[in-house]
């Protein structure tokens, strides 16, 4: 799984929880480096994640910018990836916007309960 969140503590917490479910996690604090990684590993079944947890508020490129790049990129990837938005924003605007992207499967509001993560990975 791939997590894109600029908050290192959030990344750590999610990693800790996910590792309990035996899920391998890679964290990126910026959308740009995540994109670079996906591009580089676009043909690598093992290193591409199945799921991306994507924060909306990010420095420079934000979550939406990432999605806009990702929708053109993901057709070139050998693996089908689903995206879950993770945000502390409870604004309806953000939630509705997330629904407009077909690659986005869900919207999780922080703090994210262990139960919700279990549902995603199992």
């Amino acid at each position: 799984m791939l997590i894109i969140d600029d908050n290192q503590v959030t990344c750590m917490i999610l990693t800790e929880i996910l590792e309990k479910f035996q899920v391998h996690v890679t964290c990126f604090n910026e959308a740009e480096s995540a994109l670079e990684y996906l591009q580089k590993e676009s043909g690598n079944m093992d290193l591409l994640p199945e799921i991306i947890l994507l924060d909306i508020n990010l420095p420079a490129m934000d979550g939406w910018d990432f999605l806009n790049e990702f929708i053109t990129l993901h057709t070139q990837l050998v693996k089908k990836i689903t995206v879950y938005m993770i945000s502390s924003s409870i604004s309806e605007h953000d939630m509705n916007k997330a629904q407009e992207y077909s690659v986005v499967k869900g919207y999780l509001v922080k703090p994210i309960a262990e139960e919700e993560i279990r549902k995603i990975v199992l």
Partner: protein, 372 residues
Amino acid sequence: MNEVKEFFQKLFIADDWPARWHCGKWTDFHGWLYILSNLTIWLAYFIIPIAILYFLKKRQDDLPFKRVFWLFILFILACGTTHLCDAMLFYYPVYRLSALMLFLTAVISWATIASLIKVLPAAIGIKSPAQLEIIIKERTNELEILSNNLSNQNVQLQNFADITTHNLRAPTSNLLALIDLYKKENNEEKRALYIQKFEEASIHLMGTLNDLYEVVKINKQNNIKKELLHFEDILKPLITEVSVDIEKRKAKVTYDFSACSEIEYSKIYLNSILLNLLTNALKHNSPERAPVIHFKTKKHEGRVILTCEDNGLGIDMKKYGDKVFRLHKTFHRNPDARGVGLFLTKTQIEAMGGSISVESEVNTGSRFIVIF
């Protein structure tokens, strides 16, 4: 006394004089001209009070100087009566009644004059419809400005609410999640790690709270003290303050305040605005060239405009145009950038009734424009 008594006793008696037709030589033309003219005047002087009366009745509630209007009615009626008498004398020579009417008219005329003089200053003060329209326009403008300010404040408040949810929910939920992890963990090493992260997250949260407090402080101050400030006097010490940074980056900071050298403004805010613009420009320099930062002022339509131009990294306006001044928004992978400075600057400028905008091109530089 006897004369006065006799005067009133014989008021309507016309025996003591010949009718005016027989007094002197009147041609028909001259006599009728005299009579008809007098009657016409009397008729007119009878209708004018009716018109005034009608006006009085219609404007009963808000008409000033009612007393003067009534005196005018009486005065015109009395004048009319003297003309009627004048015509009557041709057939019915009641010279005593005529004299009495003249006397009454004289008294009423002077009463009217006295009353008129009394209200004259107040009457002059009454605004004409055109003047009132101007006043209404001015008031409407004032109200519009007020309403704009209010809706501005509303937007700011909404933004602030958004900011608090965004920037406080994330670290707070982290704290909760860490506590949860800590409780469920048996491994001491991991527990120690969680505590350490908990501390970091708390410090981060405190930092956010301090940033927000700065914003609240700005918005709370209603009466910000303004004083006459010289841009150069404010900027020079700031350049010295960050001189280490300037030298480190081999930057060149210049300014031209010749077109408008001073401004009536809050010293604390101007200091903060200039410092933020300066450090912002320094922070986002391009690694390919030495930073060149130029401040300039001018006057436009009565307002002071300050521009701060740099040759730094620039901002992709298509992507980030509306986000430049947001709290905790940074655009470059820059460890120094916390995304607070420009947000504070915008808050301060807007609190003073001004605005800030930015023009920028990636890899060419940015120009911040402050309208004070």
